[in-house]
Symmetry: C2
Subunit: 207 residues, 2 copies
């Protein structure tokens, strides 16, 4: 089974690797700023666009390579606060302002997932997709802590301007949902999508 | 600041490293089976014993080394189900039986934390401790998935017989609380304990 991750996110790749799957990464090139809509819908649509773009490229370029069973996974994450979608902060100033606004508050992290099983004929591709959402309860970092955190550069590279498993973990008090959803890829949801396509999780484990 | 982790857990060390702190690991040698009591209380007492054992060893062996400000962190985790504490499974058979019993159910993962700031005089040590607890909602792996998971050996090395961030992540549907608590060390709780001792989190970041 060839497992292709249609995402440049190091967090998603690391999460899959820790969970026994070593994906081949093919970045979709989809422009995340081209879409708009309600935050959850947006994450799902972008996940589908990413998976479709990579699936089409693979189907066009390598008919023979598809002799090997191949799945493509696209994911996209946004943070929703007060009905507004927040992706990566555009600048350090924006990251600081967002943290000053969201400390002590809650948000919802949405991650869209789209899984496509490739067939020799594009018409035979099978696609399943679903959204995972988790509530995030932000801690109360001081102004100094926010400045120090943003100065590390970490918030600028991640949806919502925070991580859960790296430096940002100090400043998130808790979540309600799957932590993977907050990191960018929900393993239990992916397990259900794989089952829909007749693929068992242990069959993917490389070790 | 010398930061000593009084625990052999690779997950705790990795969590601290990802969060910017590269701890010195000194294993306490405390026998986890010597204590009993309600699960949360047990985790807290064992965390305290681990930190105290390492703090005493450091204070005895290296009066000069204590010229450098030093803190010692002890942690201990247990899974509570129906009032009973579950540590590491003793055998593959026990791990399989536990998973058959806990799939589709909930449990509470308790992690006790004890942080000691060393002084030149043992009587001058300052110690703070606290318990973090998180609800874990287990997924519903099939018998085949449970067998495959236990065959990897992973469940035998961890409290409760599961991980959240490795292979076990496929079979945990969600949590309510800090994911770090489930992994064995809660960063937001540690941030509060550090603050109690007058230490700021960014001052510990090595990068």
């Amino acid at each position: 089974m060839r497992f292709v991750l249609a995402s440049a996110s190091p967090a998603r790749r690391a999460l899959l690797q820790a969970a026994g799957v070593d994906p081949e990464v093919i970045v979709s090139g989809v422009d995340e700023d081209q879409e708009s809509g309600p935050p959850g819908e947006l994450a799902l649509i972008l996940a589908e666009h990413k998976a479709q773009a990579v699936a089409e490229r693979l189907a066009l370029n390598s008919a023979t390579a598809l002799l090997e069973p191949t799945v493509v996974l696209g994911c996209d994450s946004v943070l929703e606060r007060d009905g507004v979608a927040f992706g990566k902060p555009a600048s350090a100033e924006e990251a600081v302002a967002r943290w000053c606004d969201m400390r002590g508050q809650e948000g919802v992290l949405h991650t869209g997932h789209c899984l496509i099983a490739l067939n020799h004929q594009p018409a035979g591709h099978r696609s399943v997709s679903a959204l995972a959402s988790a509530t995030v309860r932000f801690g109360t970092p001081s102004d100094t802590e926010i400045d120090s955190y943003v100065a590390t550069g970490e918030p600028l590279h991640v949806a919502g301007g925070f991580t859960l498993d790296r430096l940002g973990g100090w400043f998130v008090d808790g979540i309600d949902g799957d932590p993977g959803t907050v990191l960018g890829l929900s393993l239990p949801l992916l397990r259900r999508l794989l089952a829909d396509l007749g693929i068992s999780v242990p069959s993917l484990w490389t070790q």
